[in-house]
Assembly symmetry: C2
C-alpha cells in the first residue's frame, strides 16, 4: 500500500479540497497567458502558499511533475479538472427564483463547466410560468414529481430561510445526493448527503470581525 493510498483512505482533508479550486483558477489564467511550465515554487509565490504545501496537496492524487522541470501547465490543469469532477456534467435544480436565484440561473460559467440548471421552482404565482435563463419557472408543488422523473445531482436552495429545510428534505427524499445552500440557515441532512453552504452573512461577519479586530489593535 503506497503512502498516497494510505492518505486517501482517510479522506482528503478539507484544506486540500479548499485549495484545489484555487489551483485550478490560477492554472487556467497561466494557460490563457500561454505559460506552459510552472514549478511548485512559482505557484506558491503567486498564491501565497509554500511550495511544499502545493506538492503535498497534489501528491494525494498522483505524481504530476517532473524533477528538475516542474509541472506542465496544460497537463496539471487537466489533472486538477478531472480531480474536481469537471470531466462530466451535473443535472441541477434550483428552488427560489428571487434575485439571488435569478443571478445563479443566468450565470453562464456554471453551464460552461458542465453544471446545468435543468429546472427552476418558486412558490410565487407571479413568477410561475415566466421564462428565466434556461427554463420556465414551475410551482414548487411540482418539485417532488419533477425529481421523481428527472435524476438530479445537485439541488440548489435559494429560498428564504423559513422554508429551506423543507425544500432540503424534499431533495433528500427524492434521492438528490448533494445540496448547494444559499439560504441563511444551517440545514440538516443525512450523513451520506453532501452539503455546501454559501452563507453570505457569515462571510460578511468574518469581514466585520477582522475589520474591528484590526481597529482595536491600532
Amino acid at each position: 500500500m503506497s503512502s498516497r493510498e494510505r492518505k486517501k483512505d482517510k479522506g482528503i482533508p478539507t484544506g486540500v479540497v479548499t485549495r484545489l479550486p484555487i489551483y485550478l483558477r490560477y492554472l487556467t489564467t497561466l494557460r490563457n497567458k500561454g505559460v506552459s511550465r510552472v514549478s511548485s515554487a512559482q505557484l506558491g509565490e503567486a498564491l501565497n502558499f509554500t511550495a511544499a504545501q502545493i506538492r503535498s496537496d497534489l501528491s494525494y492524487f498522483g505524481s504530476f511533475g517532473q524533477q528538475g522541470y516542474g509541472y506542465d501547465v496544460n497537463e496539471l490543469l487537466h489533472h486538477v479538472s478531472r480531480i474536481l469532477g469537471l470531466d462530466r456534467t451535473y443535472a441541477m435544480v434550483l428552488v427560489g427564483a428571487g434575485n439571488l436565484g435569478k443571478a445563479l440561473a443566468s450565470y453562464e460559467n456554471f453551464r460552461k463547466r458542465g453544471f446545468e440548471i435543468r429546472a427552476i421552482f418558486d412558490i410565487d404565482e407571479h413568477l410561475v410560468g415566466n421564462y428565466h435563463a434556461c427554463c420556465i419557472i414551475q410551482h414548487v408543488d411540482n418539485l417532488e414529481n419533477y425529481l421523481k422523473e428527472h435524476p438530479t445531482d445537485i439541488g440548489i436552495i435559494a429560498t428564504p430561510g423559513d422554508v429551506s429545510q423543507s425544500i432540503c428534505d424534499i431533495f433528500v427524499r427524492c434521492g438528490v445526493r448533494s445540496i448547494w445552500n444559499f439560504s441563511p440557515v444551517h440545514l440538516h441532512v443525512p450523513e451520506d448527503v453532501i452539503i455546501e453552504h454559501m452563507h453570505l452573512t457569515d462571510s460578511l461577519l468574518r469581514l466585520s470581525f477582522r475589520l474591528n479586530e484590526r481597529e482595536q489593535r491600532d
Copy 2:
C-alpha cells in the same frame, strides 16, 4: 499577562472566526424560540462541534458562562454580536449592478444588521440612472470621486472578473479598508486591507469533488 491575552496577541485563528457566525445564528434561533439557557454540550450537540471546542473558542474573548449553569442565551448572543462588530454600522459601496449585485442590494438582512449599501456603480449606460433598492445607479467613472467624499468601510465587487482587480485598486487607493469580492478572481490587496472572497465556483467545485470522491468509493 493572562492566557487569553497571550492567545489574542497571536491573532484569532481562522477556525474560530469561521465558527463565531455559526454560534451567532444558532443563538439567535434559540432566543427566538424563547430558550434562555444553554450549555456548551447542548451547543455542541446542535452544531456538531465538541463542547470543549465551543468553550475554547469563547475563551478567546472572555468568560461568558457560569459553572453548573451554562450560558444565558441573551447574554451570550449579545457578547458574540459585539465580538463580530454588530454594535456599529458600516458604509458599503457596491460596484456591479448585474443580477448578483442587484440581489445583494435588495437583501434586507444586511441593512438590518447595520451593513448599509450607500451607493451602487455600474459601467452599463442602460443601468446608470435607474433606481435600485436604496439608490440611483451611478456610472463607475464617478466611483473615485464618490469615495473621496464619502468614507466607506466595505467595498463590494460584483463585476465580471476582467475588471474586478481595477475596481479593487480604486477602492484601496481611496482608503477602503475591506473588500467583499464576488468576482471569480483572486484579488491582490496590500497587507493591511481585509478581503473576503465569495467564490461561488469554488464552492460548487468543492461540492462536485466530494460528490465524485464518494461515488468512486461506492
